[in-house]
Amino acid sequence: MKFRIDRDALADAVAWTARTLPVRPPVPVLAGMHIEASDRLKLSAFDYEVSAQVSTDIDVEEPGTALVSGRLLAEISRSLPPHPVEVTTDGAKVMLRCGSAKFTLLTMPVEDYPTLPEMPPAAGAVGSDEFAAAVAQVAIAAGKDDTIPMLTGVRVEIEGETVTLASTDRYRLAVRELHWKPERPDFSAVALVPAKTLADTAKSLTAGAEVSIALGGAGGTGEGMIGFEGGGRRTTSRLLDGDFVKYRSLLPSEYAGLAEIQTAPFIEAVKRVSLVAERNTPVRLSFSQGEVVLEAGTGDEAQAVEALEATLEGEDIDIAFNPAFLLDGLSAIGSDVARLSFTTATKPAVLTGKPPQDGENPHYRYLIMPVRLSG
């Protein structure tokens, strides 16, 4: 194997692929990065759940494959001087030459490396920036506790031109709708994708304008897999098994009160009052006409109180939230004005941005369960 490649192209490709290297490889070869040089360079990493493959232009002299330590290659390619890089195999070694610098990597048996999963058939495409933003908005609400695997996923529902993303950790629920271009107008599918994988992938695929999403059908190629591809990078992930909560029934159809607050001052105020209280102390919001009073700390503890301007439709209400959950939602709505609608102090409240036009449905809803304060 022998090829030449632009220094930055190599560093980018290696860095992107290295994200998928397992921290605790179940077998040593999985810590390797698979290098395949033909008309293009393909770099792959795989941890049995997620696979990543990037392809990039090279000037190939002699095609070939090799398996080297992914971490070491990543470390080396980060520190290369700004010159073209020449990569060659020499017996059981891979040599990198870059300007006057020269690096040697030992190879591992390339034939031991597992075959990467096949990409499922393409289902459609979505704008890469919008997709990354949407996934980020939803993934914050996913659970981190592996004991309920279902909650660690983002539910992806595709119905024609609409994609709905949803996730919940039982305390909050984030739902986002977006438009995309399906391969077939009547395409419909559901999938449960590990939230962390989806968030990392979506963020890392913004180089191209679009991301194509690939989903396998039952029994066919790529069953139980989802694939993403954009800008020469492709990722596959095993889907999570099992049903998702019937989240649509959680979304309240009506509300008793509706408040609007300027988002930025609201975020700052929540941060300030929760700062003085012990961690996880709920923030109490007391809404009245024209004002919301924020308060943290209970009983004899030091209390922080702050008042903000707010509009309120409906009766005065006191409602308390975990400040971290509240801040997650406020940061995700992506709107200058936050709108909070509620029924009672122990029922879920809905946080959205203020829609540009009244009556319009917001694309993003963040449902949050209150904290019940002692009586």
Binding site: Y171, V245, L250, P282, A320, N322, R372
Partner: protein
């Protein structure tokens, strides 16, 4: 109720107030607390022998009225035995939350006197009133004020010992029970202490009592005669020094203000050491069940779960984790305990003892609770309370998680050898 307290039947009421100069330490102890609270709600039972405890084949006496005590009934005694001793006794179930509420009222009175309140349990506290003198009067006057307010506001009686050290104050309150007040002035300590049996000293258990008896030492006075070096030689350095100080009325401990920040725990010593993680987990489940039930009985929730693991080599480690919110649910305690156990890296190590403890206690229902979508107010809590009710009626073990149900013929590797720590880990088990 400790063993020592039972050594002394209610003593004579003290005579005219003794000189309380230099006696700023008060020990306040509610009289037959659980029973007194029950009698508030059931005044018709007043004057009759009353026992509070889980009535069932394996239930034990949590508290007994003084009338019942004259029949020889005392706390920690099996209910079945108490029944035989006193068939006419009325047996009432334990209502932890009710006691916790009354206790909170009593402690509010204490804190209105001085911030230096050291709660020992729901019904017992040390107060340092040195700083309250100018406002409220002499220690004996303050003690009388407390007794009056507790009676007026909560309808129950308490006994107060007044002295210059914590341990004399505590012994004084024991001596004047029930409904008494006893001041032991500094120059009266020797006279108060010396006639008492050695077993009444703090730290003298049955073993030490026997050791002292072998040396011919039966009273505190006799003990006080023995030189420090002799005691240390016979009993070991620390215990010898401790007893020598006590026998001379010395106790350097100060009143450290804190709420009855108790912990509730249970532990188990295996008959033979166990290295099977499944057996360990099953034991953790059993202990979590027990701790959960005790928490609920006492009306507490705790925020910190800790696990104690003692290896075959006797090396002991504890691991603890503070939860997002306090709990009294066995399920939560169990899951946390398992994670702590797994995180300790002792999964294949032979263990001789495991323990589960919940600390950072707060009265139940007072802590804010994060609600969840799928958790209506009747969830696990309801299920576990239902178990508590069945347990009241049929005894512990009538209802238990499937993992704890064993076929009768199934061997139990390392089955329970002794109920390690049952006695000291009861509702007032403190660290």
């Amino acid at each position: 109720m400790s063993r020592k307290q039972q050594l002394h039947r209610p003593g004579p009421q003290p005579g005219p107030p003794a000189d309380d100069t230099g006696c700023p330490i008060l020990h306040v102890d509610m009289d037959a607390f659980f029973v007194s609270v029950e009698l508030l709600d059931r005044p018709e039972l007043r004057g009759r022998p009353v026992i509070v405890g889980h009535d069932g084949p394996r239930g034990v006496v949590s508290a007994a009225s003084y009338e019942a005590r004259t029949f020889g009934v005392h706390s920690a005694m099996p209910i079945t035995r108490a029944r035989r001793l006193c068939p006419q006794a009325v047996i009432l179930p334990v209502r932890g939350e009710r006691y916790a509420r009354v206790s909170a009222g009593v402690f509010a009175i204490f804190r209105s006197i001085t911030p230096l309140v050291e709660g020992l349990s729901l019904d017992e506290a040390f107060l340092d009133v040195a700083g309250a003198g100018r406002r409220l009067g002499r220690p004996a006057e303050i003690a009388a004020l407390i007794r009056e307010q507790v009676r007026a506001q909560q309808g129950i009686t308490c006994s107060v010992g007044v002295a210059n050290t914590k341990f004399i104050a505590k012994m004084a309150s024991t001596r004047c029970k029930p409904d008494g007040l006893l001041v032991v002035p500094p120059d009266g300590v020797a006279g108060f202490l010396h006639p008492l049996p050695v077993a009444s000293l703090w730290g003298v258990g049955e073993r030490t009592e026997e050791a002292l008896a072998r040396l011919g030492l039966r009273t505190v006075g006799q003990l006080a005669q023995v030189p420090l070096s002799t005691l240390q030689r016979e009993l070991g350095g620390a215990l010898g020094a401790h007893l020598h100080a006590l026998a001379h009325g010395r106790d350097p401990r100060e009143v450290v203000p804190h709420t009855p920040d108790k912990s509730i725990g249970a532990e188990e010593t295996f008959g033979t050491d166990v290295d099977d993680p499944e057996v360990i987990r099953r034991e953790l489940l059993r202990l979590a069940e027990k701790v959960g039930a005790r928490l609920r009985a006492a009306g507490h929730e705790g925020r910190t779960v800790s696990v104690k693991l003692r290896m075959a080599s006797f090396k002991t480690i504890t691991r603890s984790r503070t939860l997002r919110e306090p709990t009294d649910l066995a399920r939560v305690i169990y899951v946390t305990a398992c994670e702590l156990y797994e995180g300790a890296g002792l999964e294949r190590v032979r263990l001789r003892l495991v323990g589960v403890r919940v600390e950072n206690l707060v009265p139940a229902g007072e802590a804010p609770r994060q609600l969840a979508f799928d958790e209506p107010e009747t969830g696990w809590r309801e299920a576990e309370r239902a178990i508590d009710r069945v347990t009241h009626r049929f005894g512990r073990g009538a209802v238990r998680p499937a993992a704890l149900v064993r076929r009768p013929d199934e061997g139990t590797p390392g089955g329970p050898a002794g109920r390690g720590g049952e006695g000291s880990d009861g509702e007032d088990g403190r660290r």
